[in-house]
Each structure stands twice: as C-alpha cells, then as structure tokens.
C-alpha cells in the first residue's frame, strides 16, 4: 500500500466499495430519467433548433443580417468562437496535462470535462463556418488536390486554425473515447436489457478487462495524453495567431499566445465548475466530486486568472511603452471609449473577482464558487468581445471608425449554441458515465476515505 500523506483530504467521501462506485456512477444510465431531465432536454433542443433556424436564415440571406459592417468584419461570431474554444480547452487539459502531472483529483471530473470540451469545440467550430460569406464553398480551405492546382494560403492563420481545431477535436474525441472503453464494458455487464447490452458491447469494442486489454489501454491513454498535452497549448495559441499576426492595434501583440492559453484554462475551469456543481447535486455524486475538488479547481482559477490579469496590465504597459500612437489610442479607447463598459466588465469579472478566492472559506463555498464561475464566463466572453470589436471599431483611419451592435439573428445563434451544447450534455449524462469509473477506482485505494483508515482527520462537510 502506497503511503499517502494524511494531510490530504480524501478524494472520495463515504464508505465506497468498488461496487458502490459502479452503482453510484451508473445510476443515471440505468435509471429512468426524471422530469427535470426531460424539461432540460426539451428547452435545450428547442433553443438549438431556433439557433439552427437563425443559421439557415443567415446562410440564405447573407451576413448582412448581422450587425457587422465595413469596419468591424467580425462581431459576435468570432467572439463566440474564441469563447467556446476557450471553454473547450479544459477537458483535455485536465485529462492530459493533469494526468502527466499525476494529479489524482482529476479522475472525478475528467470525463465530464472532456465531454464538455467536445461539445464546446463543436459549438466553437460552428462559428468560423457560418461567419463565411459563402459557406457552400468553404471546402476551398482544405488542401485537397484539384485540377486547377489551387492550394490554400499556408501563410494564413485562419488556415492554421482549421488544422489546429480539427486536430484538437479529433484527438480529444479519441482520448475521451479511449477512457470510456473500460466503463462501457462495465455498463454492458450491468445492463439487463439485451439490446442495450449489445449496443454497449459494440461501443466498448468487446472490452473484456483482461490484463492485455488493460495494458494496451493504459499505454494508449498515455500516448494520447502525450499527444494531447501540446495540443492543449497549441489550439489557443493558434487561435490567438488570428489576431496576433495581424496589424490591427490591439490585435498585433506578441503576448497573445500565453495570454490566450491561460485565459482559456481560466474560462474552461469556470465552465467545469458551473456544470459540475449542478451535476454532482443532480446526479447524487457529491461524494465523488467533493468540495476538495472544487477547491482544487478554484486554485487553478486563481493561478490562471492572475496570469490573465497580468497579461491585461502588460498590454496596457506595452501600448504606452511602444510609443506607437495607434497602439496607445487602441488601449485608451478600450478603457475610456464608447465600449469602455465592456472593458470594465471584463476587468471586474476576470481580474478582480477571482482574487477573492485567496480566502479559503470562499474557495470551499459552493454557492460562491458557482456565482463566481458564471462571472468568469461572462468576463471571458467580454474579453473576446473587447479584443475583437473594440480593436476593430477604431483602428487606423478615423474616417472609417464605426460602431457595432448585434442583431437578433446573432443573439439567437449564440443562444442556439447553448442549446446545442446542453442538448449534447443532457444526452451524455444519460448514456455515458459522468465519472470515469475505472479511473476513480484506480485512485480509490489510495485516496478514498474507506481505504485511508481512521488516522485521517475528517473535516465536517457543510455542503453535502
């Protein structure tokens, strides 16, 4: 038995045997869904349909239905794209980077976080597609051999984006599914209905749980983790290149890659918190996703939030230090111009509010954390809005300065992506285990209360 420092609090509360873990996690998959689930799914699906309707309306009539104009070529669409990509950062971060760093607390949340990643990246990927003026010809962007010998422009960051996002989506999907295989095998074994057994058997690729299976599974997971870890960093780096390689003041900034990556992890953890605080309650998983987990995530939020804050301040400093009048104006305009309200929402939500987490009590307070996570989600959306719109609306020639206001079509498309996201999420919690059972079991022996013996001081949990 491995020695575990008694100071660490257990990752699993309650007296859980392996069988308990299986039953607890599988409960939503096995049981009939409740009313709330149906209501949630219906609302999400309707929202998704409305969003799809707005998208079709846009494709039919043109981007002119949006508020973007000759000066501000990208508005909510690219703001939403970057925001969703940012959110879609964290799943793979948790499962790959935290795996490599042997952070055991990741096991309770990685499955859901990865699923969230997939759905968020799908939502994100939608925006670059629909913001194109001629979506049916969007395939021009792929380097396929053709008789005209035309190739895409490999200098364009937008092209890099396409590769980065598709690669990330594929690797994340593989990684997520890889982790699911043993759990799918477990579900199959527990299923009573024949057809369900068959389906899960198929999905688990005939998982038998033999030592050879496990050995291959483990090594494959490690390889994928190795592949995914750099991708976590590269995706948002490349997304940031869309801006950083341009010449627009406020975009053309070398600090963008690390700033974007930490911002993405920041917003991603906020979104995981938003979702998990609700999910653990709704699915009775409080003993698996403990306040300790929440606290760990809050710590990441302070770290990344502070990096983001430093980045904001560095930007301001560099704008002044560069001596470039356009650059200076861009930042003065951010803070004091017609979109100053967006800037100050961003500053408050992203820089000031996470600093409250230095207080341990607040860090472990679920209600506070939930509220804060929403704040950060809003703040990070405004960060992207500030970058995309505020930089563009007043660039070099004052004659072309303009204002931007979204139309209802843009708003509906954004809401629609929430619909899509939650539709997938609701289906996900019904058909797949929300917690990686096999992985939790692997840490249960070392970190669950049952196995830790009585030497551990038990702290009273308030928020059960």
């Amino acid at each position: 038995m491995m020695h575990v420092s008694p100071i660490r609090e257990p990752l699993i509360n309650g007296e859980k045997s392996y069988n308990d873990i299986t039953n607890d996690v599988m409960a939503p998959v096995k049981a009939k869904p409740g009313k709330l689930w149906y209501v949630g799914l219906t609302i999400s699906a309707l929202l998704a349909l409305a969003g799809v309707g707005a998208i079709i309306y846009t494709i039919w009539n043109g981007i002119g239905l949006w508020g973007v104009n000759r000066t501000i070529g990208w508005g909510w669409s690219i703001t939403n794209f970057v925001w969703w990509v940012g959110i879609g950062h964290v799943g793979t971060f948790i499962s790959a980077i935290l795996l490599l760093f042997r952070q055991k607390w990741r096991t309770s949340i990685n499955r859901a976080a990865e699923a969230m990643t997939l759905f968020a990246v799908m939502c994100a990927g939608l925006f670059p597609l629909i913001h194109m003026g001629r979506l049916p010809l969007g395939f021009f962007i792929f380097p396929y051999p053709n008789t005209r010998e035309l190739w895409p422009n490999f200098n364009s960051p937008l092209l890099w984006d396409v590769f980065a996002i598709t690669t990330y989506l594929l690797v994340s999907l593989l990684f997520w599914y890889m982790g699911l295989i043993p759990d799918l095998g477990t579900i199959r074994d527990k299923m009573k209905t024949a057809w369900k057994k068959k389906v899960y058997n198929f999905l688990s690729f005939g998982w038998k749980g033999s030592a050879r299976h496990w050995s291959r599974h483990e090594s494959m997971s490690l390889i994928l983790a190795g592949l995914a870890a750099p991708l976590v960093l590269s995706v948002h780096t490349i997304v940031s290149f869309d801006f950083a390689t341009s010449i627009i003041p406020g975009w053309h900034t070398t600090i963008f890659p690390p700033y974007f990556v930490s911002g993405a992890v920041f917003s991603g953890f906020a979104m995981v918190l938003t979702l998990m605080i609700v999910t653990r309650k709704a699915l009775n998983l409080e003993e698996y996703i403990t306040v300790g987990h929440v606290e760990s995530m809050n710590k990441v939020i302070i770290a990344t939030g502070s990096i983001v804050g430093i980045a904001y301040i560095t930007e301001l400093f560099m704008a002044w230090y560069s001596g470039v009048e356009y650059e200076r104006y861009a930042f003065v305009n951010r803070a004091l111009g017609p979109y100053a309200w967006a800037y100050w929402i961003m500053m408050t939500c992203n820089v000031i509010s996470p600093q409250l987490l230095w207080i341990r009590k607040l860090r472990r307070n679920l209600a506070f954390t939930f509220g804060l996570s929403i704040f950060i989600n809003i703040g990070m959306w405004f960060e992207r809005f500030v970058i995309v719109v505020t930089s563009l609306h007043r660039d070099y020639l004052p004659s072309s300065w303009a204002m931007y206001k979204p139309t209802w079509v843009e708003v509906l498309i954004y809401l629609g992506t929430f619909g899509i996201f939650f539709t997938f999420f609701f289906i996900f919690i019904r058909v797949f285990p929300v917690i990686a059972m096999a992985e939790v079991k692997s840490v249960a022996r070392s970190s669950a209360r049952k196995f830790l013996g009585k030497s551990v001081k038990q702290k009273p949990e308030k928020n059960h």
Binding site: G62, W74, H131, G133, S156, L158, Y326, D395, A402
Partner: protein, 979 residues
C-alpha cells in the same frame, strides 16, 4: 450515296449486299438497359447533377447576329461624341457604347469647355435612360393612347384655341439648343403661343444686375485660372454655381504646384453654411447668411473708397469679421485686374455691387470676359404670372416640375387643372406631369438628336447611342408633328447647322463631310469677338442702400443650398447620386438641417434629432462645424414623391421655403424658429468621426512653408523610410508596376471620381438603411477631416481607394489565397475563390475592402433573397452594366482593382499595334472623370511616366507609410495659401 448512280459489272454485285453482322442476340434486343443506355443515363445523370450542383446560372437569351452590323463588334466599345445638358449643367462627353448599349460617359478631350473631366451627375446620368419609371407609351387621362389620336386631338384643340386667341403656354427649362429654339419660335408663331423658360434655381438676378450695370443681360465668362485672388461670398462655384466642371478645372490649375511657375491662388470664402467651395478655401470667413448684402456693401465701401458712388452708411460687424473683411479688401486691391469677386446670391442688388467691385478692380475684360457668354440659366418667373393671371387654356409642360419646386404649387395646380388642354412632354413621371391630361413621353437624352450652344459660339451635338427603349418620341419631333413638318428632327438640326454654322468655317467645303466631322468631334467653336460693356454707375447707390437696409430680423435664417450631386432634384433621382455621400457632411440619402455646434449644444440637439423649422415637416438635424449660429442650411432637391419607387422617397422638400421677391427667387429667408420634436431619424452618415486625431493622414503645409521647403509638412516621409526593413524578399515586377498619385492640393472633393468608379465597376446600390449600417459598397471614398476649432474649422480631404500595397496585409491572411499579388503590383481579387471570411477586410488598415453583405446584385445562386431597394437589378438597369467587370455575388469581398479591365485593354491594344504602352493613354475611371486632374495613374517602372515623377516629388507620401505596407498610391501634401 443513294442519289449516285451505281455501276455494276458483275451480276453478284447487283445483288444487294447482305448484312454480314451477326444476328442480334436475344438479350441485346430485349433488355432495355443496354450498355449504351446505361452510359447515356449515367452521363445525363452526372451532367445534370453537375449542372444542379454547380451554382451557376445558364446563359439566357444569347442570340448571335445573323448578319453582323458593320460598326458593332461584340466585346469592343465604340465611342460617340455627345453632350450632356440637364439642370443647367453642361458637359461635352464621349458615350461609351458596348454591344449597342451606352454604358459610360467619358469626357471629350476635344471639347473646349470640358476637355478633362465630368461631374458626378454626368457620370451617373447614363443610368437615367435605363430608368424603370419612364413612361412607356403615350397616355391620355392615364390610359394608353396612340400617337396619331393624341396628335390629332391636341392639334385640333391648339388650332381652335389659337383661332379663339386664347393663351397657350409652353413652359420648358432653360434650353440651349439653337435648333430647338428655332423650332419653338415656329411653334409660337403658328399657334400664337407663349414660350417661357423656368429654372428651379434661376440666375435671373445676375442677368438683371448685368443689365443694370453693363447694359447687357449676358452672363459673362469667368476665368478663375487668371485670378490670383478669388473672393466668393456664398458662391459654391466648385460645386453648383454656373459652370462648376469648368471652374473646377480652372481652379485646380492654379493649385497645381508642378507647373513651371507655380503661383498659387488665394481663395477667400465668406459664407454661412459650409459649402463644397468653402471647404476648399484658404481662408473661410464665417458670417451670417442675412449679412451677405451688408458684407458686399462693406467691401464695396472699402474698395471704391475714392469713387463718388459710395454711400458710406454705418455697417457694423464684430471686430473679428471686420478685420477679416478688411484683409479681403486689401488683398483684392493688391490684385487689381487679377482678382475675382463672385457672389452666389440671386439678388440683383447684391450682384450690382459685385459688378461694381469687379469693375473698380479692373477685372472686367480680364477675369470676367463678355463675349462668349453663357446661354444657360435663362429661366425667369414670368411664366408664373402668366399661368396664374392670363387664364391659359392650354398648358404644355416640357420637363419642368413647378408643383414640386415652386413655393406656390397650389396656385399652379389650380391653373393647370383649369386649362382645357394640358400636355406633358416629360420622359419621366413627376408631380407636375401627373396633372396633365396628355402625356407624350419624350426620349432620354442618350436616345435622341439634339444640339447645344452652351456658350456663345460654342456649338455641340447630341446623338442617339441607343435605339429607343420605349414607345416614346422626342419632344421636338412632337412639335414638328403638330406643326405638320414632315422632316425628321435629325434633318432639321442638320439643316440648321448647314445654313447657320457651316458658313462660319472654311476647313470643310462639303456640307456632308462637315456634318460627319462635327459628329466625330462633338463640338464646333466659331470665332468670337470679346465685347467690352459700358459701365453704368447710376444703379449702385440704390443697390447699396437696399443691401445695407436689409433687415436681419429675429429668429433663424434658413439658407437653401444645392447639394453637388442632387442639385435641384430634377429627373429620376438617380440611385447612384443618392447613394454618393455629400462631400462636406458625408451623408447620403436625404437632406437635413445643418446647425451650428453652438446651437446644438444650447438646444441639446444631436445628429438625427428631428426638428421643426417654420411650417416645414420635421427634418433631421445635423451638427455642422463651421456653420453660422443663426443660419440653418437645408439642401434642395429632396422630398420628391411622384415617379420614383417607394424606397427612394427620402428627405424633405425645401422648395416651399423659397421666396420670390420682385420676380427674383431668393434662397434664404429669415424669421424661423427651431423646435425639437423628440423624434429621431438615423442619417446615412458614412463618416462618423471628423478628426484625424493628430495622425499624419492628410499632411498639410502652408504656401510659405512650401516655398522654403518643398517637403514641408511631409518630414515624416524621409524619417519613416529609414525605419523600414523587411525580412522578406521584395516582389519582383519585371514588366509594369502600376501606381497612382493623388494631389491633395488639387482634389476639391466633388465626387465625380466616386461616381465614375460606380459606373465603371458595376458597384451595387444598397440603399439608405444599408448605408446607415456602414454597409456601403463604394470602392473609392473621399474622406473629409476637420482641423482647428469647430466654430470655423479647416477642411482637408483625401480620396481613399485600395492602396495596392506591396506588403499587403490582406494578402497573407486570406486562407484561400483569393486575394493575391500580381507581378504588375496589383492587389487582385479572385471573386470566384473568395469564401467571405472578411479577414482581409479586418486586416486592411485603410478599410477599403467591401463585403457583399446581402444579395445586392442578384448574382447569388440562392433564390428569393435579393436586397435591392433601388431596383438596380431589374432587367432594364442591368443593361447598363459594364460587361468587362464581374458582378459580384453575395458573400464576396470586393475592392478597387485599379481598373484592371482598362489596364488589360490598353495592354492588348499596345500589343496588337506592336508598340510600347504610352504614358497617359491608360486612365483609371476615377482619373478620367476628375475635372481637377488630381489623380494620375501610370507605370512606376517607367521613370519618365508622370506618376513616377510625382512619386519622387518631395510632397509625396504614402498613407500610413509607417506600417510598411508599401502602398502603390501616393498622396501629395496639401498646400494652403494661408495669410
């Protein structure tokens, strides 16, 4: 073969040859799905799938010539010399005709009046012939009628009325066609009719003043190029006054610093509202509109101090204004004989003073010359008196719209309705034509024959360039028919020319040959003797007294102005002109009340707040820097309702505010109150920000500074040069490298280039709503910035189009390489390749790229999504498209191409003729239309080309050159002649 005789020599051969093929197998016969059929079906399926899938429309209605007409080569443009005359604006033009359709108007370099440029109105007028609202056939009481019936009925009635001695009125706008005048004289004598000319914005006050002072009612020639000092009192001579195309050329000539002896003129503008001319002045003196008379009297006093005519009454001005006016008088006196004072007021008293000042300064015969007098602006107010008092039984209206543009429209309406015979000879419906019993539609000017004598002794022709589109008949033909003249109108003109003008020349002895040459050249100039009018000082005292005693009164003064593009609002309300933003306010689609910043602050009025002025319907306000505090300026020409599509109804009609005093129209009246209504109307303002924010965008220096240092104001150019380094290899331009130089000192902002670009490049019209959402599509815009204080700012302008950067920021960000660099330095757009990410647009520091937000053109493959409020995509207006330029589909980025189609044509022409390209022969559309010659286009690889030389001028700089985008467009600093 069957008809050939067959010879046989063996009996066997006589037998028919048996089919030696194998008998058909059963499966081959019975199976309907043969290999061939299968392949056919497959082929058809693939082809139709490909057809359906490829989002292209099949070519419709392509009918080849059975016998090709000699002069028409498909794909080759033919040019016909013709003349434009409308709303008292004249331009001699070449009509570019492609495949029997006029598609563009270009200046006629052989013309004496307008050899080098046009106005925006001229450029846009080509669309008027394709106007969808034109009358398609004659009407009687709104019902179609045949020409014969209508003619017979009208002829009988006219004859009866003539026999009864009743009044018959023929009202036309100013006509400058000598043949038409002759014809009308015949008509008048035959039917005992009266002919009156009517201008919505007349100049009869000028004619009256000239009659009083010089004994002739002629409007003389003005020579702005000979004046070292120009003083304009509220006269927009670069935009709308008398002959702006001509004056712009003259004015810009004196702003050209590349001449041997550059001698910049000095231009003072004394005005209330900011006019196009005022925005170009070296010194603009802001005064109230009501004070124009007093100012003229003041200047008169100062200048003619020694002369006996002075009536020195006390004229009080604020100290600042008085000093400025003293300075003006001093400069005028220093430039005796080389100065010019003009005033834009139709008040004869004011013009008498102007004449007196110019006479005292010795300008008559130098900068003002009698002899080649202007023949336009002949309109008077007599017709109104006759119409309302003489009880006319017949009223024939030809292209006049007094119901819209006369303050007493109710009276006119009653008079017209009382007449027993009312005939309209309009080609387009309008408020007045609608009242007429008979509508005998006239043709568009590109469909008909005509001639013109714009200035005395300068004759020109108009020739048809298009077969009549509708069942219309030229008004002159109608008159000929009524007169029973069997001759065609073309013959009538020809006869007139042969009898009157042929003898005036001796180059051609053959009349036919003479006529052909006239048609080729477009203009015929006869010798002319200058006259020196006598000067009568008797009227000056009265004029002075009248001017000084003008009572400014309480309340605000409303000044009615003409917008450079819309003019008097006559005709079809061309969508191109409507969409072209005003060069001063940069507002398109509609008029507004310009108020001073101080008034706006006091009354808390913001741009677009609807205000009530007098009895006028609510009009949005616009805060205009440099506007006089007590003067509100409103543009005429808006608020038309009839004969135009619903979506084009825009603005408020300001004509009811005009005042007619002693037979002279006055375009300002005082005693108004201004009241906020609380409503708001979004203005289609294309430039919301007025200041350069201290950025080196338009670089300005004074004339004195420039004389010391030709790079004055442009010091940054040298500095930046040394900071620019690149890691990348430079582009290679082995052949040509196209470039453009724009002289900011010559550009006056008239927007002719913008409209030329629109016509040349098939730029869609998107309408007021889209323009107000910053969705305008213009490839070329004229930025306008204010510097200095808002009370009376300095104005600078800058035409901006794609800069064709060598380091183009747009090129490297396009994911599909739809925008790329040519080896001639062009930044090109492959529309077919564009997927519309708009990344290029974001990354363009000049913001010159335009995105097709909606299906503005009808080129989109998706049905039922066209957005075309101005009806520019219907079949008729589409006939005007330039076939050399692709019509862009929805979702595609577009931008200035440096008129690549023109480059290509000139290159091919040079290649065919086996010669190198000549500098100056290749002109971009904007350059060609510029009456100021401010734009020069050419090959930068040719060290002797004009553009290369300009690029080496110390005044040359590139816009945002510190970004190292290496633009191919250069700007030459603006040099102001400040005192």
């Amino acid at each position: 073969m069957s008809e050939e005789k067959k010879y046989w020599h063996l009996l066997e051969e006589f037998e028919p040859v048996k089919d030696i093929r194998l008998p058909k197998g059963p499966e081959e016969v019975t199976s309907p799905v043969s290999r061939r059929n299968f392949l056919k079906a497959l082929g058809l399926g693939t082809a139709s799938a490909a057809l359906i899938a490829s989002c292209k429309r099949p070519v419709e209605k392509a009918i080849p010539y059975f016998i090709k007409p000699e002069e028409i080569a498909p794909g080759k443009a033919v040019y016909y010399a013709s003349s434009y005359f409308s709303q008292n604006e004249y331009c001699n033009v070449l009509v570019k005709v492609r495949d029997s359709r006029p598609i563009k108007l270009e200046p006629n370099p052989k013309s004496q009046v307008t050899p080098n440029g046009t106005s925006g109105k001229v450029q846009a007028s080509v669309m008027d012939v394709y106007n969808i609202n034109r009358y398609e056939h004659p009407l009687k009481d709104g019902e179609p009628v045949s020409w014969e019936d209508a003619d017979n009925e009208i002829k009988n009635q006219l004859r009866n009325l003539a026999n009864e001695g009743q009044t018959i009125l023929l009202i036309t706008p100013t006509l400058i066609s000598p043949s038409t005048k002759k014809l009308i004289a015949e008509f008048v004598s035959t039917f005992g009719a009266e002919w009156h000319q009517y201008d919505a914005v007349p100049m009869n006050g000028y004619r009256e003043a000239n009659l009083r002072v010089f004994g002739t009612d002629a409007i003389p020639e003005y020579h702005f190029d000979k004046a070292d000092c120009i003083v304009s009192v509220g006269c927009d001579f670069l935009g709308t006054w008398l002959s702006p195309i001509e004056f712009t050329r003259q004015y810009a000539h004196r702003r050209d610093l590349h001449r041997e002896n550059p001698n910049l003129n000095k231009h003072y503008q004394i005005e209330a509202g900011m006019s196009l001319t005022g925005s170009n002045a070296d010194d603009r003196i802001k005064v109230e509109r009501e004070d124009y008379g007093k100012i003229l009297a003041y200047l008169h006093n100062k200048i003619t101090l020694s002369s006996s005519t002075t009536a020195t009454t006390n004229i009080q001005f604020p100290q600042e204004t008085a000093n400025a006016l003293d300075n003006v008088a001093k400069t005028l006196l220093q430039n005796k004989g080389n100065s010019l004072l003009v005033c834009g007021d139709n008040n004869p008293d004011h013009q008498v003073l102007v004449n007196s000042i110019n006479q005292t300064l010795g300008n008559i015969g130098k900068t003002i010359r009698f002899g080649r007098n202007y023949n336009h602006y002949r309109g008077t107010e007599e017709w109104f008196e006759r119409l309302s008092n003489a009880n006319p039984r017949a009223v024939i209206l030809w292209d006049v719209n007094p119901i819209y543009n006369h303050p007493e429209s109710e009276k006119i309406k009653d008079a017209i309705e009382n007449a027993s015979l009312t005939v309209s000879l309009h080609s387009l419906p309008d408020e007045t034509a609608e009242l007429c019993r008979y509508v005998l539609p006239s043709t568009g000017y590109l469909e008909c024959w005509d001639d013109a004598e714009y200035k005395t002794g300068i004759y020109s022709v108009m020739q048809p360039t298009l077969h009549k589109l509708f069942d219309s008949r030229q008004a002159q033909e109608t008159l000929l028919t009524w007169l029973g003249n069997e001759n065609s109108w073309a013959d009538y003109i020809k006869n007139h020319w042969n009898t009157n003008y042929f003898p005036l020349q001796n180059q051609n002895t053959d009349q036919e040959r003479y006529w052909v040459e006239i048609l080729r050249n477009g203009e015929f100039v006869s010798d002319n003797t200058e006259t020196s009018p006598s000067f009568n000082s008797g009227e000056i005292g009265i004029a002075l007294n009248n001017s000084v005693s003008e009572n400014s009164g309480e309340g605000f003064t409303v000044e009615l102005v003409e917008n450079v593009n819309i003019g008097t609002g006559h005709g079809p309300l061309n969508p191109w002109l409507q969409e072209c933003p005003d060069p001063v306010t940069r507002i398109a689609w509609g008029n507004y009340a310009s108020i001073s910043p101080r008034l706006a602050r006091e009354m808390e009025i913001k741009n677009g707040d609807v205000v009530l002025i007098g009895d006028m319907p609510g009009i949005p306000a616009f805060v205009q820097p440099g506007q006089a505090d007590k003067t509100i300026s409103i543009a005429l020409g808006y608020g038309r309702r009839s004969g135009i599509p619903e979506d084009l109804v825009t603005g408020v009609n300001a004509f009811p505010l005009t005042k007619i005093k002693n037979g002279f129209r006055n375009y300002s009246s005082s005693g108004f109150n201004i009241k906020k209504t609380g409503e708001f109307e979004k203005l289609a303002l294309v430039q919301g920000h007025q200041s350069m924010e201290g950025r080196p965008i338009v670089r300005v220096a004074t004339y004195e500074e420039w004389k010391e240092n030709p790079a004055a104001g442009n010091e940054m150019h040298e500095k930046v040069k040394h900071h620019l380094h690149s890691l990348y290899e430079k582009h290679d331009y082995p052949g040509h490298k196209w470039g453009m130089a724009i002289d900011l000192n010559k550009c006056i902002g008239c927007s002719a280039c913008v409209l030329a670009c629109n016509t040349e490049n098939n730029i869609p019209v998107v309408g007021k709503k889209e323009v107000s959402r910053a969705h305008e599509m213009h490839w070329l815009r004229i930025d306008r910035y204010y510097t200095g204080n808002e009370e009376n700012p300095e104005v600078v302008r800058q035409p901006v189009m794609c800069q064709h950067c060598d380091n183009a920021p747009c090129e490297n960000v396009c994911p599909v390489a739809a925008t790329n660099h040519s080896d001639e330095g062009l930044n090109q757009m492959a529309y077919n390749r564009c997927i519309g990410t708009r990344y290029c647009n974001n990354n363009c520091p000049y913001k010159v790229r335009r995105f097709n937000w909606l299906d503005y053109t009808g080129a989109d493959a998706i049905p039922n999504n066209r957005y075309d409020p101005a009806n520019m995509t219907l079949d008729l207006p589409r006939m005007r498209h330039n076939p050399d330029v692709t019509v862009r589909a929805k979702g595609v980025i577009e931008k200035c191409s440096f008129c690549v189609q023109r480059i290509q044509k000139e290159k091919l022409d040079a290649k065919k003729e086996g010669r190198p390209m000549q500098d100056g022969k290749l002109k971009s559309a904007c350059q060609q239309a510029c009456p100021a010659d401010a734009i020069v286009f050419g090959d930068l690889n040719d060290p002797n080309s004009k553009v290369s030389k300009l690029m080496k001028d110390p005044r040359n700089y590139h816009l945002l050159e510190e970004l190292h985008t290496l633009p191919s467009v250069g700007y030459l600093t603006k040099i102001k002649n400040k005192s």
